[in-house]
Symmetry: C2
Subunit: 323 residues, 2 copies
């Protein structure tokens, strides 16, 4: 069997789960590169936190709390309780003790001048995720959400909207602060150019996948990449499988449906990024120029997730043959 290089654009919890299924589905010598959203990253209490990178790293490295989907298994919250005892703000972001060591090391390395790519590689020497884990960009690109707080319209950090307000303040707009000065991180364009298959994980289309595609040069690289591009729908039966994509899609005028998201991504021959689109068994999507298959997409257990990854690879192969 020839070695296949599968490249995946991914966000946090859903992306991480999908990647673990994909790792189980590919051949032993195949290679997976994940290009991960960093738009959710934030600095709290002087610590640089990269929620999506860490969720992928912990999930593939066996350190995740798989019940919760994020954070470390066996986590404790002592430092956070102490910060609260000092009335240190903000207090709404869960900062676990185990997790905090990762942030301490990351912050020190960044302060010392290392890139986020280099930091991620260094952290992965411990976690051995079995894939190549790349941040989408080494520059700071922060997703802010324009909301009406009742006291007026303002932009807040995505995490404040997502975690503190549980996405209950209607989002008017998503803004990628800093994106115009950003570039794809080391290895990202090379991975897209060298991919045999390119997958869009069933992550949040607006604040994960679109954020990655928003890094200058990245959408073009996906559009022009030599590999078939297959996306997996994060919407099943008109609702997100996990997360709160339904709170994000209206702000960009996209219906919360498998077809709505596929049309939003667009067919490659229409200037979009998709050749294939995988929807859940009972869903449909009709997008000219996009080949659609339907299989179970619920990631209920590792076997189901691996089967779904296999279905994505199969659809990619069908796209390649029909091209």
């Amino acid at each position: 069997m020839p070695v296949v290089h599968v490249v995946v654009l991914a966000g946090g919890v859903g992306g991480a789960r999908f990647l673990s299924g994909l790792r189980a589905a590919v051949g032993a010598n195949d290679r997976i590169t994940a290009i991960v959203n960093t738009g959710d990253d934030l600095t709290l209490h002087g610590l640089r936190i990269c929620p999506d990178l860490d969720t992928v790293m912990y999930t593939l490295g066996g350190g995740i709390d798989s019940e919760r989907g994020w954070g470390r298994i066996g986590e404790t919250w002592t430092v956070m309780a102490e910060l609260a005892a000092y009335d240190a703000e903000p207090d709404w972001f869960s900062l676990g003790d185990r997790d905090l060591a990762t942030h301490l090391i990351r912050t020190r390395m960044l302060d010392a001048g290392f890139s986020l790519s280099a930091v991620t590689a260094a952290l992965c020497t411990r976690w051995q995720p079995g894939i190549i884990l790349l941040p989408m960009s080494n520059q700071r690109v922060e997703t802010h959400v324009v909301v009406d707080t009742g006291d007026g319209v303002r932009a807040i950090h995505f995490q404040e909207w997502w975690v503190r307000h549980r996405a209950e303040l209607p989002a008017r707009e998503f803004v990628q602060v800093g994106v115009s000065d950003a570039q794809p991180a080391a290895g990202v364009l090379e991975a897209l150019t060298g991919a045999d298959v390119l997958l869009l994980a069933p992550s949040n289309p607006v604040v994960s996948i679109d954020t990655i595609l928003g890094v200058p040069g990245l959408r073009d690289a996906v559009h022009n990449c030599p590999a078939p591009v297959v996306g997996l729908s994060p919407i099943v039966g008109g609702a997100p499988v996990r997360g709160m994509a339904d709170k994000c899609l209206p702000a960009v005028g996209v219906p919360t449906s498998a077809e709505g998201v596929a049309r939003h991504y667009g067919a490659r021959h229409d200037g979009g990024v998709l050749d294939g689109w995988l929807v859940h068994s009972d869903d449909t999507a009709d997008v000219p120029g996009v080949r659609v298959n339907a299989v179970p997409l619920l990631m209920t257990d590792p076997a189901a997730t691996a089967a779904m990854a296999t279905a994505a690879l199969t659809l990619a192969e069908e796209c390649r043959r029909s091209a």
Copy 2:
């Protein structure tokens, strides 16, 4: 009763215990100011750590592990274990989870441009130690220890010598790195000028009290202060009550005895700092110009510690009357 202002030069564990006894011994309206050694301070994993200030703050604020004498009661070590799992160096300094929150806040405030005085005051709004807690200096003054490692002579940070090597490498010399550029912190000289009684806590004479006195201007301010100056011997029966002063005194040519330490501090009329010297019941000290009393100095419980503080105040009063 008139309000009395008692000023104390203090190090960590011994100083903190003595201060809690003193707080119990003085009148309700009396005021205590502690000028605390910062020569042991260090930066680890990007966190600024002030062991002596924190030991005093936690002890007087009810947060200390009184069994151990340092660190927080109910402490856990999760972050430290995780840092070790990343092979992050150094791994020999005990960094508790509860304690770490203090360091995070301190580090952020220092990075934001606040002085160590201001940071200490901010942390004390939580701990309410009931005394005024001042760092000796806001500049970085680090005690380094010249040792022969077997591979040659080199200077290592005091904490590396004390904690990692348990003071087992013979100390040739103690060096206060940065001291020539340091000044007494805000409030220190004012406290010395306005003191009614000045006490030297039974702390390590070399790496706590001498370090404080080494800050430019501080020894002169003690020598010239209007109040009687009384020291408490940290040496009982030829050995330190706690800590490892016996590993430090030989490097400065001072015998490990109550009298040896008193002669090292010197009588005020001979250019030194002492008017009175309190030794343990069975000890003696003969230092011309220094009034000596003997009482139990073991700080075995709060009542014993308060009695010892009362004896120090009494000796100060005797010094004042005989002046």
